[in-house]
Amino acid sequence: MALALDKPGSDGGTETEFAVRLDHVSKSFGRPGKQQLVLDDISLDVAPGEFVTLIGASGCGKSTLLNLTAGLDAASAGTIAVPGGRPALMFQEHALFPWLTAGRNIELALRLRGVPKNERGPEAERLLTLVRLTGAYGKRVHELSGGMRQRVALARALAQDSRLLLMDEPFAALDAITRDVLHEELTRIWNETGVSVLFVTHNVREAVRLAQRVILLSSRPGRIVHEWRVGIDQPRRIEDAEVSALSVEITERLREEIRRHGQQ
């Protein structure tokens, strides 16, 4: 497996045609002879600036797919190309470091990216303002609410200045009201920054609410079953009739996939 990691910005003017390209990617776990196939022949492009959600039931290998793309794990077969450099990854848990303040968490990301010391403070403030947490610089992680933590985590991910943002069910642990607000926030920030997003979720409505393209994965092993282009204008609301209609269609297809497992 080859993971192409170029320095961000090194491709200057030559815009690539994709933010990430997975080419016939498979992944198995376990020792040889007793292997379990988790991802089977996944080919997938995310265009620069595109918002794609991956959806599937348990065991579809969604998180594995993100780990492979993030470079935290190696594919068993196939290639993954990320021309924009190391992608940023946001987890379901905020994964902020509790020994640092919100602002320092962001500054650590900037520091590891190589931003000079005197620029880190203002840049962290700018990112906090982007996620509308202007006064939160000195706050400790435990002093923030769940929604605020995920916004700081988003700011920290954006601090990596990566062209690709991977999100692993980042809003799954939040209450419905907060999640709804964060959907609007994410849409706004995606619009403002032009970052490409590959977003994994098991919430169909969330997928339709956010994405330009929804990809359905089957379970055990994960294969791409179907893909929908979401032509609904942003800003959308999760309650919109069009969002509901498409969600019903995708859910039907998802249930079909799940039923197949009961029949085997």
Partner: protein, 299 residues
């Protein structure tokens, strides 16, 4: 994004900001208020004073009842006289300082040896398999068991005392950092990797700060082991050239059959151990835990 203010059911940017500010305000917990000084006195300071008073009272009662002759069980006042005597002679702080300075120096050496040792055991599988169990086993070996060996090696010197202190404290400090590293949520390490932290950068920015609470607990225990081992060593290793620490002082009282003096020394050893913990380790540990939200303020 098209201007959305006119569309019904859509939230404009300003509306969203307001909504979010409202949510943040609702979900942010009010900082707990500091307890008033009077309450701290009543809930924290008073109970131990009452407990000490009770122990002294019972002691005095048993003494008055003459359960044992007074050369076996002196009264609290007799023991107090021993303190007063040492105070008059100006030797009280000399004894304490002799032991405390040895304890601190031994502890600091143990920290410099135990910390890298613990880090290597925690991170290198082969080393862990090789010496991890030994390290845990050493912790349960009473440090006084090292005294005869140390005397044969180093004679009646400071070397013997420090050897015993190190053998007592190093394993517990090393084990502290091992368990500190083991308890780091794997998520932090993954998050660190995603942010670009590798190798020593990762150790410095993620591993060490994440392991700090466990490490501090190990240091605290390491101090307790240092102090205990030191007393064991001082009791046995007697030589005019070594000066008089608390252990030597106690052994001196024992040879003179001075029970008041022995009890007074035990109290000193206890007080020093508790004082160093209360003045140094506990505040440090509380500060670290509180800053990470791991310590709820008792209401």
């Amino acid at each position: 994004m098209a201007s959305s203010e006119t569309q019904p059911g859509r939230t404009g940017t300003a509306d969203l900001a307001g909504l979010e500010a409202g949510l943040d305000a609702l979900e942010t917990k009010e900082a707990a208020e500091r307890l008033p000084v009077g309450r701290i006195l009543v809930t924290k300071v008073l109970p131990p004073i009452v407990a000490i008073g009770l122990v002294l009272a019972i002691w005095q009662l048993v003494y008055v009842a003459e359960v044992q002759p007074d050369y076996l069980l002196p009264s609290p006042l007799d023991v107090g006289d021993e303190f007063a005597e040492m105070w008059r002679q100006g030797t009280l702080f000399e004894y304490i300082w002799t032991s405390v300075s040895r304890g601190i120096l031994g502890f600091l050496i143990a920290v410099t040896v135990g910390t890298p040792l613990g880090l290597v055991v925690a991170r290198v599988k082969l080393v862990r398999a090789a010496i991890g169990p030994v390290l845990t086993g050493l912790q349960s070996l009473p440090s006084i068991a090292w005294v005869p060996a140390a005397i044969i090696w180093f004679g009646l010197t400071n070397g013997t005392i420090y050897a015993v202190v190190l053998l007592g404290a190093v394993p517990s400090i090393a084990n502290g950092i091992v368990s500190g590293v083991d308890q780091i949520p794997p998520l932090y390490l993954r998050a660190g990797r995603m942010l670009g932290a590798r190798g020593l950068t990762s150790v410095r920015h993620v591993l060490l700060p994440a392991a700090l609470p466990g490490y501090l607990a190990g240091l605290k225990q390491g101090w307790a082991f240092s102090w205990r081992s030191l007393m064991a060593a001082e009791l046995i290793v007697q030589s005019p050239s070594l000066g008089t620490g608390l252990g030597q002082l106690m052994e001196g009282f024992r040879t003179m059959q001075n029970m008041s003096g022995v009890l007074a020394t035990i109290i000193l050893i206890l007080v020093v151990g508790v004082a160093i913990d209360l003045l140094f380790f506990s505040p440090l540990e509380r500060r670290v835990l509180r800053s990470r939200g791991l310590l709820a303020r008792v209401a």
